[in-house]
Protein backbone atom coordinates (compact mmCIF):
# COMPACT_ATOMS: atom_id res chain seq x y z
CA UNK A 1 0.00 0.00 0.00
CA UNK A 2 1.37 3.47 -0.90
CA UNK A 3 0.42 6.99 -1.94
CA UNK A 4 1.22 5.97 -5.53
CA UNK A 5 -1.89 3.73 -5.41
CA UNK A 6 -4.66 5.88 -3.89
CA UNK A 7 -7.33 3.28 -4.66
CA UNK A 8 -5.76 0.85 -2.18
CA UNK A 9 -5.66 3.61 0.46
CA UNK A 10 -9.38 4.34 -0.05
CA UNK A 11 -10.17 0.62 0.06
CA UNK A 12 -8.19 0.36 3.33
CA UNK A 13 -10.53 2.89 4.99
CA UNK A 14 -13.41 0.45 4.51
CA UNK A 15 -11.54 -2.49 6.05
CA UNK A 16 -13.66 -3.43 9.12
CA UNK A 17 -10.89 -2.92 11.72
CA UNK A 18 -9.73 0.41 10.24
CA UNK A 19 -13.32 1.66 9.84
CA UNK A 20 -13.97 0.71 13.49
CA UNK A 21 -10.77 2.54 14.54
CA UNK A 22 -11.77 5.68 12.62
CA UNK A 23 -15.29 5.54 14.14
CA UNK A 24 -13.86 5.20 17.66
CA UNK A 25 -11.42 8.09 17.04
CA UNK A 26 -14.38 10.24 15.96
CA UNK A 27 -16.19 9.26 19.18
CA UNK A 28 -13.04 10.20 21.14
CA UNK A 29 -12.84 13.64 19.49
CA UNK A 30 -16.56 14.36 20.10
CA UNK A 31 -16.21 13.36 23.78
CA UNK A 32 -12.98 15.38 24.07
CA UNK A 33 -14.66 18.52 22.67
CA UNK A 34 -17.65 18.03 25.00
CA UNK A 35 -15.31 17.68 27.99
CA UNK A 36 -13.44 20.86 26.96
CA UNK A 37 -16.75 22.74 26.82
CA UNK A 38 -17.31 22.28 30.57
CA UNK A 39 -13.83 21.58 32.01
CA UNK A 40 -10.39 23.22 31.95
CA UNK A 41 -7.74 22.12 29.44
CA UNK A 42 -5.32 21.53 32.33
CA UNK A 43 -7.91 19.13 33.81
CA UNK A 44 -8.92 17.31 30.61
CA UNK A 45 -5.42 16.75 29.16
CA UNK A 46 -3.84 14.85 32.10
CA UNK A 47 -7.13 12.91 32.52
CA UNK A 48 -7.12 11.77 28.87
CA UNK A 49 -3.51 10.60 29.31
CA UNK A 50 -5.08 7.68 31.22
CA UNK A 51 -5.79 6.31 27.73
CA UNK A 52 -2.09 5.40 27.56
CA UNK A 53 -2.57 3.14 30.58
CA UNK A 54 -5.61 1.44 28.98
CA UNK A 55 -3.60 0.93 25.76
CA UNK A 56 -0.78 -0.66 27.78
CA UNK A 57 -3.24 -3.05 29.48
CA UNK A 58 -4.81 -3.98 26.12
CA UNK A 59 -1.31 -4.60 24.73
CA UNK A 60 -0.48 -6.81 27.73
CA UNK A 61 -3.65 -8.88 28.05
CA UNK A 62 -5.09 -8.88 24.51
CA UNK A 63 -2.01 -8.74 22.27
CA UNK A 64 0.14 -10.59 24.88
CA UNK A 65 2.97 -8.03 24.60
CA UNK A 66 5.49 -7.87 27.41
CA UNK A 67 5.65 -4.71 29.53
CA UNK A 68 9.02 -3.75 31.03
CA UNK A 69 9.33 -2.56 34.67
CA UNK A 70 10.08 0.92 33.25
CA UNK A 71 6.67 0.93 31.54
CA UNK A 72 4.89 -0.35 34.67
CA UNK A 73 6.49 2.62 36.48
CA UNK A 74 5.10 4.92 33.76
CA UNK A 75 1.62 3.41 34.22
CA UNK A 76 1.83 3.95 37.99
CA UNK A 77 2.92 7.60 37.56
CA UNK A 78 0.12 8.39 35.06
CA UNK A 79 -2.47 6.78 37.36
CA UNK A 80 -1.11 8.80 40.29
CA UNK A 81 -1.15 12.02 38.23
CA UNK A 82 -4.72 11.45 37.04
CA UNK A 83 -5.89 10.70 40.59
CA UNK A 84 -4.24 13.97 41.72
CA UNK A 85 -5.99 16.10 39.09
CA UNK A 86 -9.34 14.31 39.52
CA UNK A 87 -9.47 15.29 43.22
CA UNK A 88 -9.57 19.00 42.34
CA UNK A 89 -12.25 21.13 40.64
CA UNK A 90 -12.74 20.54 36.91
CA UNK A 91 -13.40 24.19 36.05
CA UNK A 92 -11.73 27.44 37.15
CA UNK A 93 -14.19 29.51 39.19
CA UNK A 94 -14.52 32.96 37.63
CA UNK A 95 -16.13 35.82 39.56
CA UNK A 96 -19.24 37.19 37.76
CA UNK A 97 -18.02 40.86 37.51
CA UNK A 98 -14.89 39.75 35.62
CA UNK A 99 -16.99 37.86 33.06
CA UNK A 100 -19.21 40.95 32.59
CA UNK A 101 -16.13 43.12 32.04
CA UNK A 102 -14.72 40.62 29.52
CA UNK A 103 -17.96 40.54 27.51
CA UNK A 104 -18.27 44.34 27.38
CA UNK A 105 -14.69 44.76 26.10
Amino acid sequence: MSIAHPATLIAAVFTPWIALGIGLLMCFFASYLTALSWADLTFVLPATAFGNVIVAFFARFWLHESISPERWAGIALITLGVSFVAQGPSLTERPVPQIEEATTQ
Binding site: L33, T34, L36, S37, W38, D40, L41, T42, F43, V44, L45, P46, A49, N52, V53, A56, E70, R71, A73, G74, I75, A76, L77, I78, T79, L80, G81, V82, F84, V85, Q87, G88, P89, T92, E93
Partner: protein, 132 residues
Protein backbone atom coordinates in the same frame (compact mmCIF):
# COMPACT_ATOMS: atom_id res chain seq x y z
CA UNK B 1 22.64 8.76 18.10
CA UNK B 2 19.56 10.97 17.76
CA UNK B 3 18.27 9.89 14.40
CA UNK B 4 18.80 7.55 11.52
CA UNK B 5 20.34 10.27 9.36
CA UNK B 6 22.75 11.74 11.95
CA UNK B 7 20.70 14.85 12.64
CA UNK B 8 22.35 17.46 14.87
CA UNK B 9 21.13 18.12 18.41
CA UNK B 10 19.83 21.61 17.57
CA UNK B 11 17.95 20.41 14.48
CA UNK B 12 16.37 17.61 16.52
CA UNK B 13 15.40 20.08 19.26
CA UNK B 14 13.90 22.45 16.66
CA UNK B 15 11.82 19.66 15.09
CA UNK B 16 10.49 18.49 18.48
CA UNK B 17 9.85 22.11 19.53
CA UNK B 18 7.85 22.64 16.34
CA UNK B 19 5.65 19.61 17.12
CA UNK B 20 5.18 20.70 20.75
CA UNK B 21 4.40 24.36 19.91
CA UNK B 22 1.92 23.55 17.13
CA UNK B 23 0.22 20.95 19.32
CA UNK B 24 -0.01 23.37 22.27
CA UNK B 25 -1.41 26.17 20.06
CA UNK B 26 -3.97 23.73 18.64
CA UNK B 27 -5.07 22.49 22.07
CA UNK B 28 -5.34 26.02 23.51
CA UNK B 29 -7.33 27.35 20.52
CA UNK B 30 -9.66 24.32 20.59
CA UNK B 31 -10.19 24.73 24.36
CA UNK B 32 -10.85 28.48 23.92
CA UNK B 33 -13.33 27.70 21.12
CA UNK B 34 -15.22 25.18 23.25
CA UNK B 35 -15.35 27.60 26.21
CA UNK B 36 -16.72 30.35 23.94
CA UNK B 37 -19.42 27.98 22.61
CA UNK B 38 -20.55 26.90 26.09
CA UNK B 39 -21.59 23.57 27.59
CA UNK B 40 -22.17 21.21 24.64
CA UNK B 41 -24.39 18.92 26.75
CA UNK B 42 -26.78 21.83 27.34
CA UNK B 43 -26.73 22.86 23.66
CA UNK B 44 -27.47 19.25 22.65
CA UNK B 45 -30.35 19.07 25.15
CA UNK B 46 -31.76 22.35 23.75
CA UNK B 47 -31.26 21.99 19.99
CA UNK B 48 -30.30 18.35 19.46
CA UNK B 49 -27.13 16.80 18.01
CA UNK B 50 -27.30 18.84 14.73
CA UNK B 51 -27.50 22.02 16.82
CA UNK B 52 -24.38 21.03 18.76
CA UNK B 53 -22.50 20.27 15.52
CA UNK B 54 -23.66 23.63 14.08
CA UNK B 55 -22.44 25.46 17.19
CA UNK B 56 -18.99 23.86 16.88
CA UNK B 57 -18.49 24.33 13.13
CA UNK B 58 -19.66 27.95 13.21
CA UNK B 59 -16.83 28.90 15.59
CA UNK B 60 -13.72 30.28 13.75
CA UNK B 61 -11.45 29.58 16.75
CA UNK B 62 -12.27 25.87 16.41
CA UNK B 63 -10.89 25.82 12.86
CA UNK B 64 -7.79 27.70 14.08
CA UNK B 65 -7.30 24.89 16.61
CA UNK B 66 -7.84 22.16 14.02
CA UNK B 67 -5.38 23.94 11.69
CA UNK B 68 -2.63 23.95 14.33
CA UNK B 69 -3.37 20.33 15.32
CA UNK B 70 -3.02 19.37 11.63
CA UNK B 71 0.28 21.28 11.47
CA UNK B 72 1.41 19.42 14.61
CA UNK B 73 0.56 16.08 12.96
CA UNK B 74 2.52 16.87 9.79
CA UNK B 75 5.47 18.28 11.74
CA UNK B 76 5.42 15.02 13.75
CA UNK B 77 5.58 13.06 10.48
CA UNK B 78 8.44 15.32 9.32
CA UNK B 79 10.31 14.78 12.60
CA UNK B 80 9.74 11.00 12.36
CA UNK B 81 11.28 10.98 8.89
CA UNK B 82 14.53 12.38 10.36
CA UNK B 83 14.62 11.18 13.97
CA UNK B 84 14.08 7.94 15.87
CA UNK B 85 10.54 7.13 17.03
CA UNK B 86 11.93 6.30 20.50
CA UNK B 87 13.03 9.94 20.84
CA UNK B 88 10.21 11.85 19.10
CA UNK B 89 7.19 10.00 20.57
CA UNK B 90 8.05 10.29 24.29
CA UNK B 91 9.60 13.77 24.00
CA UNK B 92 6.69 15.35 22.13
CA UNK B 93 3.95 13.57 24.13
CA UNK B 94 5.40 14.43 27.52
CA UNK B 95 6.59 18.00 26.76
CA UNK B 96 3.16 18.89 25.34
CA UNK B 97 1.59 18.23 28.76
CA UNK B 98 3.88 20.74 30.47
CA UNK B 99 3.60 23.42 27.75
CA UNK B 100 -0.19 23.04 27.84
CA UNK B 101 -0.21 23.64 31.60
CA UNK B 102 1.83 26.84 31.06
CA UNK B 103 -0.31 27.95 28.09
CA UNK B 104 -3.54 27.14 29.98
CA UNK B 105 -2.41 29.40 32.82
CA UNK B 106 -1.24 32.27 30.58
CA UNK B 107 -3.75 32.30 27.70
CA UNK B 108 -6.86 30.61 29.14
CA UNK B 109 -6.34 32.11 32.64
CA UNK B 110 -6.96 28.68 34.18
CA UNK B 111 -6.28 28.14 37.84
CA UNK B 112 -3.24 25.83 37.58
CA UNK B 113 -2.70 25.13 41.28
CA UNK B 114 -0.08 22.92 42.91
CA UNK B 115 -2.27 19.84 42.40
CA UNK B 116 -2.47 20.41 38.63
CA UNK B 117 1.26 21.14 38.32
CA UNK B 118 2.02 17.92 40.20
CA UNK B 119 -0.39 16.00 37.96
CA UNK B 120 1.12 17.51 34.78
CA UNK B 121 4.68 16.63 35.87
CA UNK B 122 3.74 13.08 37.04
CA UNK B 123 1.82 12.34 33.82
CA UNK B 124 4.66 13.90 31.78
CA UNK B 125 7.25 11.53 33.35
CA UNK B 126 4.78 8.62 33.12
CA UNK B 127 4.10 9.18 29.40
CA UNK B 128 7.85 9.48 28.78
CA UNK B 129 8.52 6.14 30.51
CA UNK B 130 5.59 4.46 28.73
CA UNK B 131 6.40 5.75 25.25
CA UNK B 132 10.19 5.32 25.51
Amino acid sequence: MIGAAHVGVWSAAAMIACVVLCSTAGEVLTAAAMKSIGDLDEIRARSGFPGAVRAVVSCPLFFGGIGFLTLAFFSLLFALSHLNLSLVAPASASLTLVTNAVAGKIFLKENVDRRRWTAAVLVCIGVYLLAH
